[in-house]
């Protein structure tokens, strides 16, 4: 099994003024192969730090992360990344972006071209291969980013607010695409988001994280991602069950905000 395991992850940042910030404390979980986990929480709760540790860009100050029993100590092709925006290479065409990974690994050009063409079809960008990435809309750019990450066939895909910069309508479409890719490829996915609705809709597991120190406050097992492709997403998102969960999580996050900011009255 390609389980992603985090054991008692701690992360302490030292600030220039000599003080310390505990970005993560005792974060432990096991994510089985093929699950899609969403991370939610107010800013400063360490969700991006956690994602960067899993990607291998940061080394935790304590604890171990491992993928299929191999310790993670640097970036690797078994873990693909999708960033918010602006992580595409604007000097390369769409197909060169998607084929970047295979090319860096010295795969034969013909094989790369086939992989790239297939992936562009899957993400709905067939025929756009020779375009420059800056000619595409924000949503289409994120489709390229998804395809680029899939081209290396990673075991785990890490997404750092991949839809954060998109307009509402494009965002819903892209949520559908992420679900489709998850179902069809069976990849393990971890997605960081600011949107409660998105976290509920896309996660078959969801961690609500809390700040100071950054930690997992509550865990959910959710049914919505599994149903997401069969039923109408709008109906699902307005179902009683979904709304109840949404309100529960929202009030949880509000409580955290109050702890940080003082009373709710000051904020409103």
């Amino acid at each position: 099994m390609q389980n992603l395991v985090a054991e008692k992850i701690g992360m302490i940042y030292k600030l220039p003024d000599g003080s310390q910030v505990e970005a993560l404390k005792d974060v432990s979980f096991t994510l089985e192969e093929g699950r899609i986990l969403t991370l939610l929480g107010p800013s400063g709760c360490g969700k991006t730090t956690l994602l960067n540790i899993l990607a291998g860009f940061l080394a935790p100050t304590s604890g171990v992360v491992s993928l299929s029993d191999r310790k993670i100590d640097g970036p690797g092709q078994d873990r693909g990344m999708v960033f918010q925006q602006g992580a595409l290479f604007e000097w390369l065409s769409v197909e060169e972006n998607v084929g970047f990974g295979p090319r860096m690994n010295g795969r034969p050009a013909a094989e790369t071209k086939k992989v790239v063409d297939d992936l562009l079809d899957i993400v709905g960008l067939g025929g756009f291969g020779s375009k420059a990435v800056y000619e595409l809309s924000g949503g289409m750019q994120q489709r390229v980013a998804l395809a680029r990450c899939l081209a290396n066939d990673p075991d785990v895909i890490l997404m750092d607010e991949p839809l954060g910069a998109l307009d509402a309508l494009t965002r819903e479409k892209m949520q559908g695409l992420i679900l489709k890719l998850w179902k069809e490829t069976g990849k393990t996915i971890i997605l960081v988001t600011h949107s409660v609705e998105e976290a509920l809709f896309l996660g078959d597991r969801l961690f609500v994280m809390a700040p100071r120190p950054g930690r997992i406050e509550r865990e959910y097992e959710l049914p919505f991602a599994a149903q997401g492709l069969e039923v109408n997403p709008r109906e699902l998102k307005t179902s009683k069950e979904f709304i109840e969960k949404r309100e529960e999580i929202l009030s949880l996050i509000w409580e955290m905000e109050e702890e940080i900011m003082g009373s709710r009255g000051e904020v409103l």
Partner: protein
Amino acid sequence: MSEKTEIKPTLAARLGLAQFGTTERKTVTFGDASAVVGSRFWSIMSVLILAILWWASAAFEWTDPRFLPGPASTWERFVLIATEGYRRVTLMEHLTASMSRILWGFGIGCVVGIPLGFAMGLSNFLRGIFDPIVEFFRPIPPLAFIPLVILWFGIGEESKVLLLFLAALWIMAIAARSGVLSVKLSKVHAAYSLGASKFQVLRHVILPNALPEIFIGMRVALGVCWGTLVAAELLGAQEGIGQMIWVAQKFFLTEIVIIGIILIGVIGIAMDFAMRLLEGWLIPWRGKG
């Protein structure tokens, strides 16, 4: 998809005397940068008026022709030095000599400065070593080195190239450094996650990402080199456009001085224009990251 219909600007709009397109209906244009695109009519006018003033000053003898010769006698002299040359060196030979100094000085400045900038952008150790040197020499005008350069290397060709090299070096190093430092971390992270090695990240991410700033640096450096050239040629030379006007001034050949100044301006504009063409062709993604 919306149908695109060709809208032809009116003659007045082409001359910049009227707004057209989306600007036409704007009520606020004072302070709107996109609404101020210049007026070709007035550009033509300003050049024309200058030319007429120059012609009139000679024709009506407003000025002493020894200090400001008119267009006609300047043109005659231009034809003369272009064909027969001045002091047995033709205009073309003067220009070739100057251009070759520029290309050597600027070229070596790029070849040394760009890798230096990359090193400073990629390593704390190398940045630590070179930062004080580069930051110290950057604000010193290259002309200030002339006495030292003469002391050390004499007044030969090496001294002139060295001076132009010093003019280009710091500009290129700083441009390359800032190009390297402008790379978005997420692009570097993405490349490592896709299996790129350090060298591949350098070659396929950091270098193309730095190219736009390197190009801006090259344009600035070329301009500064061109400006330093005339002074460099004062060091003493047999040929060169700067040397030509310097010698001509001693013999009161004001026409040649004026021809030299106009040529220096025209060539400077042409070089910048060529660089911009090259830029659009080589790095179409500039400013679109």
